[in-house]
Symmetry: D2
């Protein structure tokens, strides 16, 4: 028996291969769309992928189940639902799926989604008794799955279902069971998931803050009160995954465009220039109108927040080697119209003598001095989430969560200087790029942002 975890950084997504070498078979649980890694791992264990298990209809990444099934012929198993429209084997509460000598028993655990199932696993040498649960988005390390993805009006009902799934179904399975969730720290599918990748039912029962409230009404109230906004692309991907994403088979390379061709392509309708360089490089010189989402770990989630599914995307990269990673992230999150990237990057653009713009980076010390002097004219904009804002912000700052900025540009004064900040400067640079695109004349970003502000010991409000 072997169990391997595949981490998809950025989405904090965890998928699993669980196999029986003696029988020569394995299953993949909650695969992502770029599936080579599963075949590669299966090969190192000399097994073929015979089963694919879904815990639920994912909202935050394009499911790889159909892709993987098309390549391997493996059967897809998923919780019973009358909405799913692609071929699969429906799994009911109590069903057992046999993968060689391994048994996976399904537990219907609605709450995050209506058809969600968890799989309890037993089998392998020295492990006849059940030893683990694949908890999908029902139970995370230190948190639980969000319950508002069917819409606000259904959130209470879903939360009540989740309460029973957790307390009546999962926790009774035994303190000694390990849990294998579908997400780790940073995923917006949970509120505030912890650092660990696995945990145990006993540990969560005793220490998960959400499970310390064991009265249903209180549990529901607490949960509904703590929900943070969900990325805009979630509802689109729920549709995609319900009806089965397009099978790619192989991904066509994104064409390199020379600066002049790039400039022409930029002018076509529904096109966005996406600049994935670091924030200070973007600040130092960028193409007019470009959106800056730097290629850090949080890239895919912020791409999901800021891009539209049908938009044509033209890329500006720090270096050509980033292309594969960026394309991979975009395909995982369902953005398929990747129509070109700028050859030789900004260097090519500069050397072609084409115009560019700048956003000045301010240090927190410069900002502090500015605030201390002529505060009146200056707009300081905090673009962090409501929860972060509430934990303390720069005195006198305005607040608007970055994703909502596009629809509220009119709330600020285009003619006066505006400074954006967030936790580290990353989202602030996204926001700054949108303000610049929106015609704001004097835009500043604060690299380091609140981390730097706190490190400098400046006051909070």
């Amino acid at each position: 028996m072997f169990l391997e975890t595949v981490r998809s950084e950025g989405l904090s997504h965890l998928s699993y291969l669980l196999g029986d070498e003696s029988a020569g078979v394995c299953t993949v649980i909650d695969p992502r769309r770029d599936i080579e890694i599963y075949s590669d791992i299966a090969k190192t264990h000399d097994v073929r992928i015979s089963h694919i298990l879904e815990t639920h209809v994912h909202e935050d990444f394009v499911s790889g189940s159909r892709e993987l099934s098309a390549q391997t012929g493996a059967t897809i198993y998923a919780g019973e639902s009358n909405q799913r429209t692609f071929e699969h084997e429906a799994v009911k509460d109590g069903d057992t799926i046999q993968v060689g000598n391994l048994s996976l028993q399904a537990f219907h655990t609605p709450g995050h989604t209506p058809e969600h199932v968890c799989y309890r696993v037993s089998g392998g040498k020295g492990a006849k008794a059940p030893w683990g649960v694949f908890t999908g988005d029902t139970l995370f390390c230190g948190d639980i799955g969000r319950t508002d993805l069917l819409g606000a009006e259904q959130a209470e009902g879903m939360t009540r279902q989740l309460y029973h799934s957790l307390f009546d179904k999962l926790l009774p399975l035994g303190d000694e069971l390990e849990i294998y969730p579908a997400h780790g720290k940073g995923s917006p599918c949970g509120g505030d998931i912890g650092d660990r990748l696995t945990s145990t039912l006993g540990y969560e029962r005793r220490h998960n803050p959400k499970l310390q409230i064991d009265k249903e009404d209180e549990f529901v109230k607490n949960e509904l009160g703590s929900l943070q906004p969900a990325p805009f692309y979630y509802s689109h991907l729920k549709d995609v995954n319900t009806h089965g994403p397009r099978v790619l088979a192989c991904v066509p390379p994104i064409p390199m465009l020379d600066p002049h061709v790039f400039q022409i392509e930029m002018g076509k309708p529904d096109t966005v220039v996406l600049d994935t360089r670091e924030i200070e490089a973007f600040g130092g010189g960028h193409i007019q109108g470009a959106l800056n989402i730097a290629l850090r770990e949080e890239f895919p989630v912020w791409a999901g927040w800021m891009l539209k599914p049908d938009q044509r995307i033209l890329l500006v990269l720090a270096e050509e080697d980033d292309l594969e990673t960026v394309q991979r992230h975009l395909l995982r999150t369902g953005f398929e119209k990747n129509d070109g990237y700028l050859g030789k990057g900004m260097r090519g653009w500069f050397e072609a003598g084409l115009p560019f713009e700048r956003i000045s980076e301010l240090s927190v010390h410069q900002l502090k001095r500015w605030i201390d002097s002529d505060w009146t004219d200056l707009q300081v904009l905090d673009v962090r989430s409501p929860a972060e804002w509430q934990q303390g912000h720069i005195p006198g700052a305005l607040h608007l969560y970055a994703p909502f900025l596009q629809d509220h540009l009119h709330s600020f004064d285009r003619t006066k200087p505006i400074v954006t900040y967030c936790g580290s400067g990353y989202r602030a640079s996204i926001a700054a790029s949108m303000l610049k695109r929106g015609g704001f004349k004097e835009v500043y970003n604060i690299p380091g942002s609140m981390k730097a502000w706190r490190a400098a010991g400046y006051p909070l409000e």
Copy 2:
């Protein structure tokens, strides 16, 4: 916080990196000798290696602690012992080591070795309470550490100590804690370790066969009765690790030798030709006197059984790309005199017109027919461990565990045909190569061995 597991295949060794990104530091627990992997992982998390923790003096691999400390300047921590002669920080029962915001509390758990400590860990986002234990060779998934490595006369005392370490120290820490042992399936440091890489104290308390016996005397009796032979190189490596292995800094490449030079080098004293090709390739044609230990996962353990620490080793490889892996395995197990490898492999040898020998591979069907006909002359030798032998063998076979063959060649008749078999043909080929070297005229190996015999449905005794 992050926790990464490094698996060293072959030795079934598990080492760990545990780090705190916010503080920029991490610790490595029980590092192996080829340490680049730890630096590489640390780099991906943007931390430096600040601490090195040993659970005990290892016997089955050369510890990498000194190597890693020499490269990084990190301090080595290890359980108090008056035998260790290299620089380290001695750890007492109850001591806590702080790695950024992570706490590692030491529990003295003698039994496998006298100075063994386990480390209980707490810390990280959502994980203030203790959540795991690095159990070293005290507790494995489905088994416990062997207690006879100080010699037979001390085994009972050590087993009693282990009993108390397990029942009085480890198990009371809580069912919900995950365990991170130093070995997985296949390591001779445990009796019969299970498939899983991690488990929980609760699972082991309820399902580990060795922990189902909670009366001390019975526990001791059972344990002493189940011990299997330990590889010969263990005692040598215990010395090496007690006094601190030589720091390599960088490993000199093994020179390629052309066939004629190889032939001359072979003739020098204390030299072994080690042929790491698959068994049927070895059988098809090999250099006279060569020892066949094929480069499968079990290679390092069998190298440890069959080679002597001060022997000069000359290599015959299936392909040049195997060189790095073979050298890595040999260095991990303390074999440093790797004086050359045969250029162009056996092909070079063949084309130089040099003489070679063969060992015929027999199928189980051929063996069965032979046994059924003229059994009288034929010696069928089972070279598996005593435990395997007892679970059933080919009727009429002789038994001698492969490692003991070298000293008992005289027990068999050199002039009559001899057939070797084991579980899969791997150890049988080692034995066959030793018999051939020992002057046996007609030696056969059985690829597939007991697996094939059982698959064919032939009778067992």
Copy 3:
């Protein structure tokens, strides 16, 4: 300007990227079918592939022009021919193709094929004057292109054309020009190509043995007299390349089959088991009826000789990592029905208890002793090419070139021992596997073969 050479080992095929970084474009000359390497190289130079040039209709590998054009949109240029049926730009003698600042002027050089063109190149910094010629299969380093591929009756006419192409078109271009041929040493497209990858017109004019004969009739007579047999797959690939090979876009992975499934698949019609392990491993134990073509450099040519285009192929590999290379070689030479490979290799087969066969490897010393003693019964078969045979062979040996063996098995006595040899044992093992499959009872192979025989100082005939 840059010029990069892509070598396809095995086929000794040379293709080229020639580009102009300042203009951002490049051309590929005579691309192979697996085209990623061209895109990768183009990317490192920050150019796109804008042109594809064919020197002629290749016979020895599937052209990658259509594949590359489908991926990049580049135009295919090729010598005028009324047979080609896929889209391309026809090139006439004297035409110039402009790739950025580089000029490629076409010279019609019939002989190897009727529509063959060479391209003379000029351009790049410090290189305004023409500096090189892409000579395709017209002129190699130390040899010239074969002229019999349209069939024996046209060979004389083609040779006369080649004479004029060489002496009247190419050589007059100037001694100082470098030549970039489509093949290096070992390709059956030339007779006996030299070691160098490039040369100069002057060097070839002065030292190429074929060009030392400057009288047409003598040249023709010499050339026709020196022709060696061409691999069987050549005529098939000429058709494929004339009508345009299928565009693959992406290659489906070859499925892993477990031994029992493999055994069933073997039984289906038109199926060959292709064992790519080294010869002594094949000899040590192989599946009945398997064909041994070891994965050395000469693999693709021998696959071309021994396999049929429409045969289903089942693979036995030395290790799983060989799969990609083997598949690549098979696709390059037009074998597309790769229906599976044996999971865990022969080890899996052995452990499943399935039957296998052996071919004994004899050393040349054993062979010599045998010949010296009871020569009468023994058949010694030399399977080298006629040219090699004429340069000396083992006294008393029979001769038949390996590719012709399949149709002449009846020429030998199935009931008597037969020993095969070649230059190194490689082709001898192919032949031995065919004899074994053909029902010969006692088959031996000589690893090292003539190299070993000569090294041992034994007499030749």
Copy 4:
């Protein structure tokens, strides 16, 4: 026989492996200091490195001959010189070195250096006659070696020697010979080397501009008049290579420093902060006093110009993956005191709340507008080489070649705005970083620089 070229980008250095597979040996010609690549290539050809040939004492990179000899035991061959102080075999005019079946005949060709030798090669299948010359720094594609490296007073004498080496020794060897020089395009060891990596004696004789002047006095006058400044590190490396560089064996990893430790280390004497990010990222935010040499191809040459051999170097990288490349470049050019790099890069610095500076990037359009309006206050500084300056510059600009800026900061007005430009913005950013460090208040860089200026169609002077 095989010939492989190893390109060291940045230094435009070409070294060669030339080997004879049948004899199992090869030679490396003019190896660089990081030598793994030679061993790796030798391995793929199944040969060992038996000979090392130096054409001359290199000035632009640390020779790898001693390193390679220490690892392989190969003998070093080099032209006779009474200055070299490490062990080698002295080669005289006419000597022949035999590497298996290959012959390398030495021709003493003084001019670039006094002891320079070229090696004419013959041997290999189909290549008995000499077919190539390793020309070192005597003859390049489209140019010849510079003659002023012993100092201005000896330049004339050296040039006369070079004249005779070229016209009396090399060219007479025959038009059909290929040449393999030690440098390609971009190396300051030649004046203006062409794009091709190889050429022929005939091509150079007919088209190399320097060889069109066949009268000695005219040749000397032309050559002395065209010399460009040589990088400052050349004289240091000539010493290093004359006395034999230190053998590294293995390179210690550069430690990661957290921002606060980095800040402390910066303050120590003789320390430079070297920031290798792209110019606009540097402009967007950098550590005060940092020197910007971006990690483009020209990095090593500019490191050689701007750094001092004994300086402690602290690195700021675009990403951690650049570390190995940067270290490799620095070691090749003899900078060994690489004492640390900034953990998490500038992001770590920003988040620690530490102060930073900016340099504004101006587009050529902004510069043009500025020049057109209030030219009086503005200093526009062209930092290109004298030769580039003479081919046209921005009207009204000042000129000082970047390397000389450090000693001439006082020539400009610290209180007035200063704009730097070069060919592409690369050297301009180096210069801008030096001006900023030198206390200039208002510094601008022009990304794209002259390329952009020309592309925009603005006037030149």
